[in-house]
């Protein structure tokens, strides 16, 4: 078996989700090639070459790939797809955007967001907001798969010594073009990679009140998240959203504050190791998944919690 993994990066740093995706590739077994597409991303390729278990790094460094636009990237992967039995990418907005396009170009039914590798052709994945876990077997000759990062422990970023091979651009598309981006700058850890996440919901009442959570997050070295209700209400930006259609997190500690616990939110955090819920409604569904529940007004509890940390 030969597996191609699409590396996620920002042209200077490799994203941790790539290491989780490689862990799934390792479970499938076989030789693993890591594809780095971008512009001026030699440093990413160098970092990829030292990752545990990577046999070869393919580097396509070209203007066309600077922003990972789906059209050109898919055409490139299509041109090398027949060399592989599996093509994997992390189930992040990067992987979710590009992989189904690749899948259709090579006439394969993709398997989205796997959480377990049963065998080389059989995988588990959550459906209906994680209410059920489906086991599916693929009959396609190439398996195209996105991987839920939180379900696989990352491989080590060191210990490997892969060769880096240059890959020429293929069939560059002009159907789409990059205009700009607003990437949130924060000193806090990234939501999906943080070991502690403090999240707020509708109960926070306003965006200003999120400073109560931020104070606690900074004392714990935690990331700040939110429920859909808080994002829809405009309290915090979209990239804070944890849930079925937002980010999936599974930190060591998840503190849900003023979040009632709709199934769509639980889908994004219920695999956290320890869950704490603070809510003034004792019947809130969030308490059903919480290891430690505190029935309290968050405006009393948060300052007190901050003082005690």
């Amino acid at each position: 078996m030969s597996i191609l993994v699409l590396a996620e990066h920002d042209n200077s740093n490799l994203k941790p989700s790539t290491l989780n995706t490689l862990a799934a590739a390792k479970e499938i077994g076989g030789s693993i090639h890591l594809l780095v597409t971008g512009k001026g991303c030699q440093s990413v390729a160098d970092a990829c070459a030292t990752v545990e278990g990577v046999e070869k790094v393919l580097l396509a460094d070209d203007d066309a790939y600077e922003h990972q636009l789906a059209e050109s990237l898919s055409n490139l992967v299509k041109s090398i797809a027949s060399n592989y039995t599996h093509i994997l990418a992390p189930a992040t907005t990067f992987g979710k955007n590009v992989l189904p396009r690749i899948s259709a170009l090579i006439d394969v039914q993709q398997i989205s967001e796997i959480t377990d590798v049963v065998s080389a052709d059989t995988f588990k994945r959550p459906i209906y907001a994680g209410s059920c876990i489906a086991t599916v077997k693929s009959n396609d000759s190439i398996k195209v798969i996105t991987v839920r990062a939180t379900a696989f422990d990352p491989v080590s970023a060191t210990g490997g010594s892969a060769a880096i091979e240059a890959l020429a651009s293929a069939d560059v598309s002009s159907l789409s073009s990059f205009v700009g981006e607003e990437i949130a700058k924060s000193d806090r850890p990234e939501l999906t990679a943080a070991s502690i996440v403090v999240s707020g919901g509708r109960g926070m009442q306003s965006g200003d009140n999120f400073h109560l959570l931020e104070t606690i997050a900074d004392k714990l070295g935690a990331a700040v998240g939110a429920s859909r209700a808080a994002v829809d209400a405009g309290f915090v930006p979209n990239d804070y959203q944890v849930g079925q259609t937002g980010k999936i997190v599974a930190p060591d500690l998840y503190i849900a504050v003023g979040i009632s616990g709709a199934i769509q939110h639980l889908a994004g955090m219920k695999d956290s190791k320890v869950i704490v819920a603070i809510n003034k409604d004792p019947d809130a569904p969030i308490f059903q998944v919480a290891d430690y529940g505190l029935v309290a007004d968050l405006f009393d509890a948060l300052p007190e919690l901050s003082d005690q940390l």
Binding site: K96, S112, S177, K270, D291, L294
Partner: protein, 250 residues
Amino acid sequence: MKIVVPIKRVVDYNVKVRPLGDQSDVDLNNVKMAMNPFCEIAIEEAVRLKEAGTATEVIAVTVGTSASQEQLRTALALGADRAVLIETDVLLEPLAIAKALAKVIEKESPKLVILGKQAIDGDNNQTGQMLAALLDYGQATFASEVSIEGDTASVTREIDGGLQTIKVSLPAIITTDLRLNEPRYASLPNIMKAKKKEMDIQPVADLGIDVANRLELVSVEPPATRQEGIKVESVEELVSKLKNEAKVIS
């Protein structure tokens, strides 16, 4: 400008779905069905473009069983002008759905296709991107803002780190994220009017495409359950438990 909006009939988002007793599939007996929430956002966006004078016609399309007519009627009540049902006996996989939609789109030749980024049943998040590949159109997924300027669409996308803006040449595929708009409710007069709007029904077999499943559903299980937790009485007790029992903070 013509806009095609593919939609999907799914289990209502309030329903907690469980596996069948023999774990062969999910249990959908007597559950409430509805239009997928992301599809409502797609219809709303198309109807707003029509109301703004940018679009001239909005066509709702679905690939599904005869029961999907109900969701197409909802789309018509929300402002779509006509509807197309590609009828199937069973639920198809995203690739097959994309192939069927591609046939409809080749025939209708719209300038824009807007659809939900994901359906809340299979949570696949594939159909829009696959459709774009099959038609060789540009794609703008996870849209939170769309503006049409001549032959291009400028689309702001919700990505993991924040927001990204791209331009796509029309015709193009746009998939909707949650913040694109807030869908309206259908008014009673519009529900009545929708009953008279045109709905074209054709069997999927007439399209001449291969819609066979590629995936085999081996089993459907409930997720692992969490051990029941405890209620603490105070912040002090909480901090103590986290430090000494769970050992997740120091």
